[in-house]
């Protein structure tokens, strides 16, 4: 009888161990997303940084690199072209879905639609601070290894009209809590672009050092077109709302 009881307990223990992983709660996808956003400027009061964009592939080989000074806060961002000389002084302002472009010599800022890409494969949403936790609803999909790094894979669906993409498959490093890869999809699930991220920068956030994005590479899914953006001179600081007033853009 005693033996039977021991056998029962042993069996129950083995069953519990075997079922453990399956019964454990899935990671909170939204919490993973919030943490990952920090490495790309999300949740900060404001951000000032420089972005250098290089385009390559079909039709882009003769395009000069662009250097931008970007100021961002919340749903607003303004990017000023520092290089090349032929575009220097041009500015792109985005406040939610409202966008304007201006250049030295223009009489007034020109209203443009969000589809107006910034350069190459990059949209204005790719150079501004990333707030995916605000713009997307996240669902946990699975675990997967990217390179040799185990990652959580999230399915992001656009939650509002401010989002740059309709759907994103997002790989977040389990160990580092930062996003390392993304696929940008159409509403139907067709892959449009893919991106990889590197984190060679650091910023100070509430007294702790946080890894910060230093390079984003965006590739078109159908062609060899590619845009590589390098982020530098990062300052996490509040940005005055007057910076995002179209009346002060010129």
């Amino acid at each position: 009888m005693t033996l039977d009881r021991q056998q029962f307990l042993l069996t129950a223990l083995l069953a519990t161990l075997a079922m453990g992983p399956a019964c454990a709660a899935e990671p909170d996808a939204m919490e993973l997303l919030k943490t990952a956003d920090q490495g790309r400027g999300g949740g900060l009061p404001g951000l000032v940084w420089q972005v250098r964009a290089h385009n390559s592939g079909t039709g882009a080989d003769d395009q000069p690199d662009q250097t931008l000074l970007v100021k961002a806060a919340g749903e607003s961002s303004v990017a000023e072209v520092l290089d090349p000389p032929s575009s220097r002084g041009a500015k792109i302002l985005q406040v939610s879905r409202n966008m304007w472009l201006t250049k030295p010599g223009l009489k007034k800022p020109v209203a443009i639609s969000p589809r107006q890409r910034l350069t190459g494969q990059a949209s204005i949403g790719d150079i501004a601070a990333t707030n995916y936790a605000k713009d997307y609803t996240a669902t946990y999909l699975r675990e997967e290894t990217v390179g040799d790094e185990p990652c959580h894979v999230l399915d992001l669906k656009s939650a509002n009209r401010q989002s740059t993409y309709d759907r994103i498959t997002y790989w977040v490093s389990i160990r580092r809590g930062i996003a390392v890869q993304a696929d940008f999809l159409s509403l139907s699930g067709k892959k449009l672009k893919s991106a990889t991220f590197e984190y060679g920068n650091k910023i100070n956030l509430s007294g702790r050092s946080v890894a910060f994005v230093s390079r984003m590479s965006i590739a078109d899914a159908l062609t060899d077109a590619r845009t590589v953006m390098e982020y530098s001179n990062i300052k996490a600081q509040a940005v005055s709302s007057t910076e995002f007033d179209v009346g002060n853009l010129q």
């Binding site: 009489k107 639609s113 007057t242």
Partner: protein, 428 residues
């Protein structure tokens, strides 16, 4: 300011060198330090215009004296300094022009030079508010063809890729209040924009309401001793590709030139000061393709323009004035000068403007094709512009404009076509 042409080059280069040295102080790293940025673009271009010798309004080119051939140097500085809440901006511009014109078969050439401050202001930003004092481009609204919501800049200048429009002299205060933004301004002078029609000493109030996909603005302005201006605009971004917008403005312009009854005794035209109140309205749509190219269409109703009958009488009186000029040149040419100089800011009442352009954010190549149509007399103007980067600091550009319409039509009345070739040298 009108420096001598030969000294203009020296002045430009000296200023360029001086500015280049000033840029060495650029730090950009600390908020307590001034961040200075500067550009200097030297444009060199030549233009050839096919001026109509048979123009009713400008017989023998004796009235408008339009240039047939032009060579221009256009130097444009863009100087900026920022430190914390302060921003200083200066845009001096230098122009030297060699022009050749044929008047009554006699060809003459001359050289002129000028310098001016297109913009120059100081701005102080404090939280949600900003003060601006100086000469500033005080322009707004989404319209390209014309901007009826602006009392100072009806011609938005967006149809001319080489335009350089100066600011107005003002002091303004803007404050953000949630989704609203209120601007109060006092405009001291607009003489840099339209010397003949200074709208200086105007008080202006502008209220904006901005949402996640729209911007609505109402503008009220009152010139001292003048009639009030009321205007507004709205723009809406329904999805990623579309931008829909409209502008309106209601005002009494300083004057209205009306043709007198054809064949009547007395002057050919009469001037009503001020003009009756007019209401101008524009509707526009902008569609961006997947590749970033944009298609834009705008319709403008300009109630201050001539009806079909008035436009016909306007040209018939001009023809009669031209015949008079053959017998009594002083009287005839004076009447034609009045017809040209005081004509409505747009001759017709209804216009359509179409534009197709490449993504302006792609460096290296920009092009645009446009068509402006007067829906009353069916005259129109085609415009093509291409700019291509030739070297890191050099780009070349070509602009071609061609008018369609009879000699008694809006676009066909003065010249047939114009070709312009040039280079832009981005000095620093």
């Amino acid at each position: 300011m009108k420096p001598r042409p030969r000294s203009l080059w020296l002045w430009a280069m000296a200023a360029a060198c001086g500015t280049a040295h000033a840029s060495d102080s650029d730090s950009g790293a600390e908020d307590s330090a001034w961040r200075t940025t500067h550009t200097f673009e030297a444009w060199f271009y030549a233009a050839r215009t096919d001026v109509r010798n048979d123009a009713v309004l400008n017989p023998g080119n004796a009235v408008a004296r339009l240039n047939g051939v032009q060579g221009l140097f256009d130097g444009r500085f863009n100087l900026r300094a920022e430190q914390g809440p302060w921003q200083l901006v200066a845009n001096p511009r230098l122009v030297e022009q060699r022009s050749e014109r044929t008047v009554n078969g006699d060809t003459r050439s001359d050289v002129t030079g000028s310098g001016r401050l297109s913009q120059g202001f100081a701005r102080y930003k404090d939280g949600d508010s900003a003060w601006t004092v100086g000469r500033e481009l005080f322009a707004w609204g989404p319209a390209n063809f014309r901007s009826p919501s602006n009392p100072f800049y009806f011609d938005a200048g967006r149809t001319n890729p080489l335009a350089s429009t100066p600011g107005v002299d003002l002091a303004r205060y803007t404050v953000g209040l949630g989704s609203f933004r209120v601007t109060g301004a006092y405009v001291f002078s607009t003489s840099q924009v339209l010397p003949a029609e200074d709208l200086g000493h105007s008080a202006l109030l502008k209220v904006d309401q901005q949402g996640s996909a729209h911007l609505v603005s109402l503008i009220a302005s009152q010139q001292r001793g003048g009639a009030p201006f009321l205007g507004g605009f709205a723009q809406f971004t329904p999805d990623d590709a579309w931008l829909l917008y409209g502008e309106f403005g209601s005002q009494r312009l300083p004057h209205l030139l009306s043709p007198n009854a054809v064949g009547s005794q007395g002057p050919f035209y009469s001037l009503q000061q001020p003009a009756p109140r007019s209401l101008d309205a524009l509707l526009g749509a902008n569609y961006t393709l997947e590749n970033g190219q944009a298609l834009i269409a705008e319709y403008l109703h300009n109630s201050g323009g001539y009806s079909a009958g008035s436009a016909q009488a306007y040209f018939q009186q001009a023809r009669a004035a031209g015949m008079l000029a053959q017998r009594l040149p002083t009287l005839g040419l004076a009447a034609l000068g009045q017809a040209l100089g005081q004509q409505p800011r747009l001759l017709g009442r209804d216009y359509l403007w179409l534009n197709w352009q490449s993504n302006p954010q792609v460096p290296g190549l920009f092009w645009r094709l446009g068509w402006s149509q007067n829906l009353g007399d069916h005259s129109g103007q085609a415009m093509a512009y291409v700019e291509k980067s030739l070297a890191p600091k050099l780009s070349g550009f070509v602009s071609l404009a061609a008018n369609r319409g009879s000699v008694q039509s809006d676009y066909g009345s003065l010249w047939r076509s114009s070709l312009l070739l040039g280079v832009k040298w981005f000095v620093f």
